[in-house]
């Protein structure tokens, strides 16, 4: 028995009409809540037999990815961006300091403030790189760089904790991702996998990492993001038990060095004017009337600083 090889045009039209009617529900729901719309697709076509419905689902998922933007990427994708940027960070700012004790010390101080941060459910990695530029920056996903010059210029652990907390705040607020949310790469990409690291998509990914480098290494983030990270970071340090004024001391120190220091690729060129930051942070200190009674920890810090 030979099965029917073709369908009547009227059948085809009716089937399309039926599917269009079926899609009306998910489309309306999609406009209000994309996640529920995708669930509705499962209800309409539980066995995933209808090619039309499945094609529409794929399109909806793609549109959903655009609508959700870079800041809604899953952690794995965010971390892949962070790792790629970190590779560029080493090439730009130098290799990590060889002293493993210093690396572990900085990693421990950083992770102590992470416990009191807004996004403590992801792992963070802190690394000191050998460089004479006063700089620190955070890659998406939680890889945080601090230069040996900046570390050497600090006087106590509270200052270090505050600087690291500032960077932790950038990761928590997803500032870097916000800065590149319009990158072409994110058009139609909800997740990053090796599949979209090749060919045309791969080029877009590389361009996006290039954009991130321009933002974090050269132009800097939006000034409001920096002020937000300043105040959030002081709050994380305070919650941990460090005197948040340590952050203002670091800014004061940088202000003194500003005239003679290398500006390119440093906190001097990528961050708002120090005077503005100091003023805003001083205003923020009003929230911490007992700050002076909190920990500063000079001796331990100096012991480790000597190892650099």
């Amino acid at each position: 028995m030979i099965k029917k090889q073709f369908t009547h045009p009227d059948d085809e039209i009716n089937r399309t009409r039926r599917n269009l009617l079926k899609l009306a529900g998910p489309f309306t729901l999609f406009m209000a809540c994309p996640a529920y719309a995708l669930d509705l697709f499962k209800m309409i076509d539980p066995d995933e037999k209808s090619k039309d419905i499945q094609r529409a689902k794929t399109i909806f998922e793609g549109v959903g990815s655009i609508a959700t933007s870079a800041t809604d990427l899953d952690y794995k994708s965010e971390f892949a961006i962070g790792e790629s940027l970190a590779l560029e960070g080493f090439q730009r700012y130098g290799l990590p300091s060889k002293n493993q004790l210093v690396q572990k010390y900085v990693n421990t101080v950083g992770n102590a403030v992470v416990q009191n941060s807004m996004r403590s459910d992801i792992p963070y990695y802190f690394v000191v790189v050998e460089n004479n530029i006063y700089n620190a920056f955070a890659c998406p996903g939680g890889i945080i760089f601090v230069s040996s010059a900046l570390l050497k210029s600090m006087n106590n652990e509270a200052e270090l904790a505050c600087v690291l907390a500032h960077e932790v705040a950038h990761v928590g607020h997803k500032h870097a991702l916000q800065a590149i949310k319009r990158a072409k790469f994110f058009e139609g990409v909800g997740k990053i996998s090796t599949a979209n690291m090749k060919g045309e998509e791969g080029k877009k990914f590389q361009n996006m990492i290039g954009d991130l480098q321009t933002v974090l290494f050269d132009h800097g983030l939006d000034q409001d993001m920096e002020f937000e990270a300043d105040l959030s970071g002081m709050s994380f340090a305070y919650q941990t038990g460090y005197n948040p004024e340590g952050f203002i001391r670091v800014l004061d120190m940088l202000k003194q060095k500003e005239a003679t220091a290398v500006k390119e690729g440093s906190w001097f060129s990528t961050h708002p004017p120090l005077t503005d930051r100091i003023q805003k942070c001083n205003e923020g200190m009003g929230k911490y009337p007992d700050a002076a009674s909190l920990a500063v920890v000079s001796n331990r810090f100096v012991e480790y600083r000597k190892l650099l």
Partner: protein
């Protein structure tokens, strides 16, 4: 007489406002990982329970930098101020893969700085396949990939952080 009454009224209002402002909140939320419920308002007192981030607590009293609180299960004890928030905190789902649970760090909490010999014996987790692909496409020299491997492989356990804070007399360990 009238002036005295008005002044007394203002005085009463001022004191009431000041007292209200210093009153501890009735409800607080655990805002930190690794928060402990203590038997007394001192870090050296016995730990009664570990309380997870986002747990709602009823405040019974406030002493120094410590809240006396009641947990949803009825257990009471003391919790350090730095571990809580007066605004609601979302419960955490636990660390993402690769989280700081390894406890592989050398002893930083002791009084002396000790060398860590575990680095060379550890297995390297390696970059994600995506970052590896990026490095391949970009021709990133192997030395940078190896260094990033090492960075991602470093982990600090909550216990080590706790000991580190204790040694530095930081937060709840401040004397």
């Amino acid at each position: 007489m009238k002036i005295k009454c008005i002044l007394a009224l203002f005085g009463f209002l001022f004191i009431s406002t000041a007292v209200a402002a210093n009153q501890p909140p009735s409800t607080i939320w655990v805002a930190s990982d690794n928060a402990k419920l203590k038997a007394d308002w001192k870090s050296s007192s016995a730990t009664l329970a570990e309380v997870s981030k986002g747990t709602v607590l009823s405040v019974l009293a406030y002493q120094e930098k410590w809240y006396q609180v009641k947990l949803p299960n009825g257990k009471t004890g003391w919790i350090y101020r730095g571990k809580v928030s007066e605004t609601e905190v979302q419960k955490t789902q636990g660390k993402e893969e690769g989280g700081s649970v390894g406890g592989l760090l050398g002893d930083l909490s002791g009084s002396n700085i000790r060398a860590d010999n575990t680095d060379s014996s550890r297995s390297i987790r390696g970059l994600s396949p995506e970052a590896t692909e990026y490095a391949k496409q970009n021709g990133t020299p192997q030395v940078y990939r190896n260094e990033l491997d090492k960075v991602i492989d470093r982990k600090v356990s909550p216990t080590e952080i706790d000991q580190f804070l204790k040694q530095g007399k930081i937060g709840e360990y401040q004397e």
